[in-house]
């Protein structure tokens, strides 16, 4: 911007100055022109005035002559001569050629006139040119007398047109009239000197002279004066004014023939005419034209010659001003530049000073142009272990000190520094003398000498080893946190959070590329059982090994994640775009996984065989959301579990309906439990002597659409949905309430109710308290309450079970072991738990008559019960033959369709009454029947 100002301002000033100069010059020019013109006009007016004055003088002179004649009334020759002598023409009235008399001679008087003149002594007088004309006006006297041939006297002026016109006009007007341009009568040589004549009429005295006619009648003649124009003009001015030329023309047009006079200069210098003007004079009633021209000399005399001076001084001044302005402006910028230069030098010296001052803290290395260090501060010893001398002596200081791994990164920067560029915050490792690593952060910049020449660059470095270590530690910690957030601690696999992200990516990639992907939901079969039998630590080991095997089974781009206790998810990507092909590819992978997972695991010395259930769903693009895919795979996995585990199933849309149905059922069940819509059916338990001891309470769900739903269908559902506790509570409560009701009916008060208790319920820590609470609330007799446990409850933590049972037993509750013979239980449990009853599973009873094994087992169970002092009851008795067999075997209690189907309480109560009545009546015969 200052450059613009530097040039613009002086230019403006120059322009302004030139403008003013021009204005002044122009004004001066105008004034000069005006001056010249007004001087010219003055000269013209002056010339005109002098001519008019001169002619007026001549006229006066002529009038004087005329006066003489007017007084006498005649043209006396001697009088004329004497008069002219007296007025002394020569001295005062130069310009007059001659003064004379013209006589008016009408034709009739011609001869007399000639004769008369001859008589007065004019020798040889004759009117010339000769010839007869109407009238004559000859010159009869002339002073000074002229000699010449032809003689002046007798010259007929009337013959000459110009003269005649003037003679006529003067005669008619009585005034002095000037003629046009004539050649004077005396000029016979042919000189052509322009001349003119002035005529003044003389009339006869005494006659009237008012009108032209009267004047004509009284005309005697004229007096005249003849002039040569040159001499007239000459007599006007003593000298020409410089630069003025004039010309006088007869009439109003400047033609050569009309030219009366021309001043000498006019001929030559017509080219430098500055100004010219014409004026028309009326002299003696006759028109003359005066043409005056001013030349350069006139202009120079009267015009101002200051134009050149103005122009030069003006331009000079403008230039000077502009130069001054420029000098001032540039001076300012120059001063500023100087100041900046001085500041920079000061800053450099400051930097040097500071650098030196820094030398106790920072490492300073100054490099020369050749790439060799030229100065190193003593701190280098502390930093690197090398002394200054050692460093300076090194062949390649940079190469020795800088860590080889960082060298590729640092070398280009050093090169930049050598070329004068600045830089900072370059962090790299150095190797100390003792081999340890030192982290340095350096900045570098160019060095200039006092004249500003680049002489090298300097590096200034700080020790940042500590910071680096801290940074490294921090990084590790950050990584750890990140891991925890996204990875499963046990298996190091991505957790659910990271899986969701990976899955999202996989879907996106699939959408973009068109390739398919697959989601595999892998559930380790019977993992809980393993955990319970072998312990959690073994379980963890298993999971870890499963994780390893899974990771090994997939490609690098695929994801393996742990999403639950024993649930894993595998995301496969980059499958074929064709769904069928993708499915086959996935099946191949799935089979591989299944096989691998089926191999033996070594868990800390224990060999274990495990299987997995796999559910697969294939996806392509954004057709399904993450949650949907997971649900589909999950469903498929459940299906495979249903089919018996160790299988792989693909998600089938048909499964979806199952899910929906299941969900509906679950909702219905929840509602039924909440609103206590479940029913209890009772199946009688009968003894050998046909006594009904009690009933087993069997829960039924009265579904509004599906009708009765058996527990086999909804109890697992309840267990999964977490409803089992509420369900169990309801059942227990209903049973206890029923007991309470029966307790006040004498014929029913002895009945027991057996309630099935699931493993989940029994495992609850507050199970005992709950049962006791229900018993207390309902007012049931605990001795009449029988809790039926399945063998699966005995798998784990027997101590806890025993404790709970004892606690309840103390209150009077009776325990029965259900489905005995088909479960896991170890026989030793039987002696540790306070059981009261064993229930032979129906599967043994069904074939007891045809399968000797079942018969043997049943017998054995009976024997076992006997020896352990446990009651034994057989389930599923459907025929009398079975009953009889069992009776023979020693089993004296039965339950089954043979006696009673599970019915509602009213039906059961009716059955009891009926049964009791019948068998009471036929007590003896009944016994006989049995024996028979």
């Amino acid at each position: 911007m200052s450059a613009v100002r530097l040039i613009l301002l002086p230019l403006l000033i120059l322009a302004a100055g030139l403008g003013v100069t021009w204005a002044v010059w122009d004004h001066d020019q105008q004034a000069s022109r005006h001056e010249v013109r007004s001087q010219f006009n003055f000269a013209l007016g002056d010339a005109v005035g002098r001519i008019e004055q001169r002619m007026a003088t001549y006229e006066q002179m002529l009038r004087g002559v005329h006066g003489m004649f007017a007084v006498s009334g005649t043209l006396d020759r001697d009088q004329f001569h004497d008069y002219l002598k007296a007025i002394n023409l020569d001295a005062n009235l130069s310009g007059v050629q001659a003064v004379g008399v013209v006589k008016w001679v009408p034709a009739a008087d011609r001869d007399a006139h000639v004769a008369a003149l001859g008589g007065t002594g004019v020798a040889g007088y004759g009117i010339h040119p000769g010839g007869r004309r109407e009238a004559y006006a000859p010159i009869v006297q002339r002073e000074p007398p002229a000699d010449g041939d032809p003689p002046v006297l007798g010259f007929d002026t009337w013959f000459n047109p110009e003269r005649r016109l003037a003679l006529q006009r003067s005669r008619d007007s009585g005034s002095a009239i000037v003629s046009g341009k004539v050649q004077l009568a005396v000029d016979t040589r042919g000189d052509e000197e322009p001349g003119f004549v002035m005529y003044l009429p003389v009339y006869r005295r005494g006659l009237p002279q008012e009108t032209a006619a009267q004047r004509r009648d009284s005309l005697v003649g004229w007096v005249y004066a003849s002039f040569r124009m040159r001499e007239v003009i000459a007599s006007l001015y003593g000298e020409q004014p410089p630069g003025i030329s004039l010309a006088l023309y007869d009439g109003v047009e400047p033609s050569a023939t009309a030219l009366l006079y021309r001043s000498p200069e006019a001929g030559g210098s017509s080219t430098d005419a500055v100004l010219s003007a014409n004026e028309y004079l009326v002299v003696g009633g006759h028109d003359w034209m005066l043409s005056m021209t001013a030349h350069k000399a006139f202009e120079e005399r009267f015009g101002r010659n200051s134009q050149a001076v103005i122009a030069w001084t003006g331009t000079g001044l403008s230039l000077l001003l502009a130069l001054l302005a420029w000098a001032m402006a540039s001076g300012r910028s120059r001063a500023m530049r100087l100041a900046s230069l001085m500041t920079r030098e000061l800053r450099e010296s400051e930097e040097k000073f500071r650098a030196l001052a820094d030398c106790t803290v920072n490492l300073e290395v100054w490099w020369g142009l050749g790439g060799r260090p030229r100065w190193i501060n003593p701190s280098v010893k502390e930093y690197t272990g090398y002394t200054v001398e050692e460093c300076m002596a090194m062949r390649d200081l940079a190469g020795t000190l800088i860590h080889p791994e960082d060298m590729p990164r640092v070398a280009p920067e050093l090169l930049k520094g050598q070329h004068g560029l600045r830089g900072n915050n370059l962090e790299f490792r150095c190797l100390r003398k003792d081999g340890s690593v030192l982290w340095l952060s350096v900045s570098w910049g160019p060095i200039h000498d006092a004249r500003g020449v680049f002489t090298g660059f300097r590096i200034s470095g700080r020790d940042i080893t500590e910071r680096k270590l801290l940074d490294a530690e921090r990084k590790i910690a950050e990584d750890k946190i990140r891991e925890l957030a996204f990875f499963d601690a046990l298996t190091r696999l991505p957790n659910r959070t990271l899986l969701a992200d990976r899955l999202k990516q996989a879907i996106a990639v699939s959408a973009q590329s068109g390739a398919s992907g697959a989601l595999l939901f892998i559930d380790v079969d019977n993992f809980k059982t393993l955990n319970d039998t072998l312990g959690h630590d073994k379980g963890d080991l298993l999971l870890q090994q499963v994780a390893q095997r899974l990771s090994a089974s997939v490609r690098e781009g695929d994801t393996v994640a742990r999403v639950g206790g024993d649930e894993f998810v595998v995301v496969l990507g980059n499958l074929s775009g064709n769904r069928q092909l993708a499915a086959s590819e996935t099946e191949a992978v799935g089979e591989k996984i299944r096989t691998i997972l089926g191999k033996i695991y070594h868990l800390d010395g224990v060999e274990y065989r495990s299987t997995a259930s796999i559910g697969v769903t294939v996806f392509n693009g954004h057709h399904a959301s993450i949650d949907e895919l997971l649900k589909q795979a999950d469903l498929a996995m459940y299906k495979s579990k249903e089919r018996g585990r160790n299988a792989m199933r693909f998600f089938d849309p048909a499964m979806q309906t199952v899910v929906v149905a299941r969900a509906a059922l679950e909702a219905g069940l929840r509602k039924a439990v909440d609103e206590d819509l479940l029913l209890l059916h009772y199946q009688a338990q009968v003894t050998v002597d046909n006594r009904i001891t009690g009933a087993e309470a069997l829960v039924r769900w009265q579904h509004p659409e599906r009708g009765i739903i058996f527990p086999a269908e909804f109890v697992p559902l309840a267990e999964e949905a977490g409803l089992i506790h509420a369900l169990g509570d309801r059942v227990l409560r209903a049973a206890c309430l029923q007991l309470a009701r029966w307790s006040v009916q004498p014929d029913l008060a002895h009945l027991t109710i057996a309630v099935n208790v699931s493993v989940h319920q029994f495992r609850e820590p507050d199970f005992v308290a709950r049962v006791l609470a229900v018993i207390g609330e309902t007012g049931a007799d605990p001795r009449r309450l029988k809790l039926e446990l399945t063998e699966s409850v005995l798998v784990d933590n027997v101590e806890d079970i025993a404790e709970k049972m004892h606690a309840l037993k103390d209150s009077g509750v009776v325990f029965s072991l259900d489905d005995f013979g088909i479960g896991y239980s170890s026989l030793s449990y039987l002696k540790r738990l306070p059981l009261d009853q064993l229930k032979i599973d129906r599967s043994f009873v069904r074939d007891i008559l045809v399968d000797p094994n079942d018969a043997a087992i049943a017998k054995t169970i009976v024997a076992l019960g006997k020896s352990l002092a446990l009651e034994v009851i057989a389930e599923g008795v459907e025929t009398a033959a079975q009953r009889d067999f069992l009776a023979d075997a020693g089993c004296h209690a039965y339950q089954g369709y043979f006696f009673c189907h599970p019915v509602q309480v009213e039906g059961f109560e009716a059955f009891v009454r009926r049964f009791s009545q019948r068998h009471r009546q036929a007590a003896a015969p009944a016994r006989e029947q049995v024996d028979g």
Binding site: R37, S175, D287
Partner: protein
């Protein structure tokens, strides 16, 4: 009418009060100069309005007045210096008022006479015409717009001066000049010289200008000026002026020229 009556009364009173000779003082012979200018005075015929007026002045005043002929320029110069006592048909301006006193007896407008081939139909046309040469009589002044035109053209050196009307007519006929300023007394010459055929007239939009007897302040004391003015007023009052003009002009022209409001 009333004014004339009052004027006459005043004159009578003046005369009575003065107890001097009623009329100008004829102690010395006076000089009056005429200039050749159309109907005002023609050298060739030795007749004209001004000549008649001068004769009347001589008769009324009883003084000796010597009439001579000279150029207008000279007349003004001599009036200024006091060498000439009277002249006629002069118009006043600020400069002239310093040395001359006037007694009005007629007024007329000024016109611009231009050749038809000069291309001037109205005054504004001069702006586009730089070949126009205007002819004027030396020392003549005219009405305001005419003066402006003359001054403007003179500054551009487009004015040719002349000592009288004759050369201007000649020059106009020969295309030496393209126009000149004229007054009603110039008209006859236009017809006589056939100038009418080749020319047209452009009006100056100025009011008529008063013309009057010129009296040299240097030569005549104010009291005498008043007497001569009174004499002129008498001539107007009793119709002498009208009579003189009627000899040369038609009656409507006479009315236009001789009827004017005398400025007080």
């Amino acid at each position: 009418m009333t004014r004339h009556g009052l004027g006459g009364l005043l004159l009578a009173l003046c005369c009575l009060g003065n107890a001097q000779a009623s009329g100008p003082d004829c102690a010395r012979p006076f000089t009056l100069a005429l200039h050749d200018h159309g109907l005002l005075y023609s050298l060739d015929t030795d007749t004209g309005i001004d000549k008649d007026f001068a004769d009347e002045m001589i008769r009324r005043s009883g003084c000796q007045i010597r009439v001579s002929l000279m150029s207008r320029a000279r007349i003004w110069k001599l009036i200024e210096s006091g060498a000439l006592d009277f002249s006629l048909s002069g118009i006043a301006n600020a400069e002239r008022n310093q040395y001359a006193a006037f007694a009005w007896y007629f007024s007329n407008k000024y016109y611009l006479l231009v050749r038809k081939d000069a291309g001037i139909q109205k005054l504004s046309d001069f702006a586009y015409n730089d070949r126009f040469q205007l002819g004027v009589i030396r020392s003549f002044r005219y009405s305001r717009s005419a003066n402006q035109l003359v001054d403007r053209l003179a500054a551009a050196n487009r004015v040719s001066q002349a000592g009288g009307l004759e050369p201007l007519y000649e020059a106009l006929a020969r295309r030496r000049i393209q126009g000149m300023i004229i007054e009603p007394f110039d008209y006859p010459a236009l017809d006589a010289k056939h100038i009418r055929d080749v020319t047209s007239v452009v009006e100056f939009n100025d009011p008529p200008v008063l013309h009057g007897l010129i009296m040299s302040k240097k030569a005549l004391p104010p009291a005498e000026q008043e007497k001569w003015r009174a004499l002129v007023d008498d001539m107007r009052a009793d119709g002498t002026v009208r009579r003189i003009f009627a000899k040369y002009f038609k009656s409507d022209m006479v009315d236009a020229m001789t009827e004017f409001k005398s400025p007080l």
